[in-house]
């Protein structure tokens, strides 16, 4: 086998797999640029096939607030003067927990929209639990604003301890949302 034949065979096989991955991504609703990129770099994109729809694409009642809060927080974290203050993994963990709690609220809302469920004797408990969960989400969102204030203080004082502690507290609160729900 000559080097040209070898190269053409390898390239064809690579692109063939890439085309399959790209087509599968298109069927799953990914954009055309992402599918096109997958044709070339499919090993990096293949994880998109395994994942379900992105959490941010299935928003509950607080979806827009959560998106706005984390966009602002990530913008603050991306500031060169604040590099290393906020752990991106911790931020993502809090966001995922909040979005999951938001989805559970949406599920509760859909149940309560059914007159038969709303008329049931136990519906009061569901309404109460829903209100409590919503309260917790709102409290967490308010704390995110506090984190941004503390990030600003870090820029001046340089002590990252309180911010890290606050973020850890938020992560714990977000994890507790699952138990509350």
């Amino acid at each position: 086998m000559t080097s040209s034949t070898l190269a053409i065979s390898v390239a064809t096989a690579w692109l063939a797999v890439g085309l399959v991955v790209g087509a599968a991504l298109l069927r799953r609703g990914a954009g055309a640029p992402a599918a096109l990129a997958a044709v070339v770099v499919w090993p990096a994109m293949v994880s998109l096939l395994a994942s379900g729809p992105a959490l941010r694409d299935i928003a509950g009642p607080y979806g827009a607030h959560i998106t706005a809060a984390f966009t602002a927080l990530r913008a603050a974290a991306a500031d060169a003067a604040l590099a290393g203050v906020l752990d991106p993994v911790a931020i993502t963990a809090v966001e995922v927990a909040l979005r999951q709690a938001d989805l559970r609220l949406a599920a509760a809302d859909r149940l309560l929209a059914d007159p038969a469920v709303a008329a049931d004797d136990g519906a009061g408990r569901l309404v109460s639990a829903r209100a409590h969960a919503a309260e917790q989400i709102e409290a967490t969102l308010r704390q995110l604003v506090t984190v941004r204030v503390q990030v600003g203080l870090v820029a001046l004082a340089g002590d990252t301890g309180p911010v890290r502690a606050h973020l850890a507290e938020l992560a714990a609160r977000a994890r507790a949302l699952a138990e509350v729900a």
Binding site: S3, S4, A7, W42, A50, A80
Partner: protein
């Protein structure tokens, strides 16, 4: 995010880009990061082949993005497996974004280094010295990609350094042999431009021979007797 904004962010803080672990972020960031990596690598290839004429420059510009992208992508599952085995778990999507962000950063560095490489190659530098210069430049521009991927592996695993060293060694070997298979990037002055040369020997025997030739030792007895890493020896 515009390509210009992303370029700035990739240069200033690639870790922030690499930390976008969500699947949605991977789908959104992959096309522009790929464009930056391919564009930069093509420019670098153009500079590497420019000393041998426009046809060789075009060949090198086409092949260089392949050399840039193929080894890191092929080794991606191994990086994940090494990290998992060493107790430093890293999500696949995060690893993918980090790899693409690192390659984009290296692509930008390659584009910036292209004129620096072109200058010595365009003033009739001896062939073997030119090859060594090209290899050294290529390894240098690839370092940012390696460091971005390394930083994407979270701290905490007791054997994290072992995972990183294992990854770097495997990637190094793969890049070296892929480059060897895809040669020539810098063509011999006496040979007509060619897209691919015949598969013979391996990169290590060739680098040894090139290093000796660069120092003026053109003894044919040093040439590889046959294919394989261990089969090179001075003839009696």
């Amino acid at each position: 995010m515009s390509l210009f904004t992303l370029t700035t962010q990739v240069l200033r803080d690639p870790d922030a880009v690499a930390s976008s672990a969500a699947s949605a972020a991977l789908g959104r960031l992959a096309p522009p990061l790929l464009a930056l990596a391919v564009g930069g690598a093509a420019l670098f290839g153009l500079a590497a082949g420019a000393g041998s004429g426009p046809l060789q420059a075009t060949y090198a510009a086409v092949k260089m993005p392949v050399l840039f992208l193929l080894p890191p992508l092929v080794v991606l599952p191994l990086v994940h497996a090494f990290a998992e085995a060493c107790g430093a778990s890293v999500p696949w999507s995060r690893l993918s974004v980090a790899t693409l962000a690192g390659l984009a950063r290296s692509g930008l560095l390659a584009a910036a280094a292209a004129p620096v490489l072109w200058l010595p190659l365009s003033v009739e530098t001896p062939y073997h010295l030119a090859v060594l210069l090209f290899v050294a430049s290529f390894m240098t521009v690839l370092l940012p990609a390696l460091s971005t991927v390394a930083r994407a592996v979270p701290r905490g695993g007791t054997l994290r350094p072992m995972a990183l060293v294992g990854t770097a060694l495997t990637l190094g070997l793969l890049i070296a042999q892929t480059g060897w298979v895809l040669r020539p990037f810098v063509a011999r002055p006496t040979v007509a431009p060619t897209f691919l040369r015949a598969v013979e020997g391996d990169v290590f025997s060739a680098l040894g021979a090139t290093t000796r030739s660069a120092t003026g030792d053109y003894d044919d007895a040093w040439a590889p007797e046959s294919a394989g890493v261990w089969r090179e020896r001075r003839a009696e």
